[in-house]
Symmetry: C2
Subunit: 235 residues, 2 copies
């Protein structure tokens, strides 16, 4: 019986993956509810169960009697408790700041294929998505990636210095997601971002992640936060 | 000379307001750069100034030699340093979780009038905005507000119990913004949320906020995060 439980939808990496990577690289034992047969029903039941600190949506982590929701908040807890971020104030806030910026970009990447409503399918908003994708490719991908590159000019080899933090893991996953969803555009902008590409390679090579990334628990992107619709990509 | 500096765009409350309310209610002295004549030029200059921990966008807070960006991250700092959130782990994480949920809803409220691109005007994406507004009114306003109401069923009189936290102030501002932008729809959903309306009144009556709310430093919403376009509202 693991001390921690990660609750997230099965079948996609989604926002749960940012938490999963920290648990895996931190070698923290956890029960992964998404791997269990009745995961969807269990999540739906939990979402309506009365509790003092209810989550609005997955992911949430059960830990030490707490139900902790919001991806960046879960990571803040794991960072403090398991040394996956600096201890001192400035470093801890900096890693949280970078993580929140990663989550902002992930939300924007999702808005590209669902600009009107999460309650409609992509096909029902494909015209609006085409406009949103143009803006995301033209303005937002360069804005965010150039900012990360600038950050790595002053923070080496990792985002918070000498040791990787949960934000490095999340940034790797964000880059993986962008390269999956917008392969042509990502390749173009990545040419201007050598430090970012080095960081990406450095995370992929972490011994702490080797088992997980080589396992069948590590899921394909599919129809989650990051989606590949060829018509939404361009150089 | 104040110890702290709040950097945010002038002319709108925007995301800066969530920080400003915490500084004001916490009676924390600060320099408000938005009130200074050359604020825009100063912000633009700071955004390109090389530094170890650069902000991607305002707001950011200068404090104790740090440049802290991301609204919820600034509030996390202020909460810890100035007792504007519980000290103990579970309460601190809970307040951060609620704050992140507030920021999610604020971002969605912004996406309603800018569903395609922040680089285009509202008028250039008014048709897409009409579709986004329908979904926001129908699905998202009830989803978020009913969740806050459910939270207040278990957390009284404030979100984290006996004393107000920065998340109570932010929730008040979120409700003000929704009532401004979507007056008809907000009024309808608010009828199902008596605890939320009580919390709203309780924050508005805080003696710690009286000076600020009665001053001309407290700005109208205007064309910021929350915007009132009558064609985007409906009962």
């Amino acid at each position: 019986m693991s001390a921690y439980e990660l609750w997230y939808w099965p079948g996609i990496p989604g926002r749960g993956e940012f938490v999963r990577l920290a648990l895996e690289a931190g070698r923290i034992p956890y029960r992964d509810v998404a791997l269990e047969p009745d995961a969807v029903a269990a999540l739906q039941q939990e979402l309506v169960t009365p509790r003092d600190h209810p989550p609005l949506a997955p992911p949430w982590l059960r830990a030490e009697g707490m139900t902790i929701a919001q991806t960046a908040n879960i990571l803040l807890f794991l960072g403090e408790r398991h040394g996956l971020a600096p201890d001192e104030l400035a470093g801890r806030l900096w890693v949280n700041q970078v993580q929140l910026t990663i989550m902002d970009m992930a939300a924007e990447a999702h808005n590209v294929h669902h600009p009107v409503s999460v309650a409609l399918t992509y096909e029902e908003q494909a015209a609006e998505a085409a406009s949103a994708a143009h803006a995301f490719r033209t303005d937002r991908i360069p804005k965010f990636l150039h900012w990360f590159e600038r950050v790595l000019l002053h923070n080496q080899p990792w985002l918070a210095g000498a040791r990787w933090s949960y934000a490095d893991l999340s940034l790797w996953h964000l880059l993986e997601g962008l390269a999956f969803a917008f392969p042509q555009r990502f390749a173009g902008v990545a040419r201007d971002c050598p430090r970012l590409i080095q960081l990406h390679a450095r995370v992929a090579a972490l011994p702490e992640l080797a088992d997980y990334l080589g396992s069948n628990r590590c899921q394909a992107f599919g129809d989650g936060l990051f989606r590949h619709y060829p018509e939404l990509d361009a150089a």
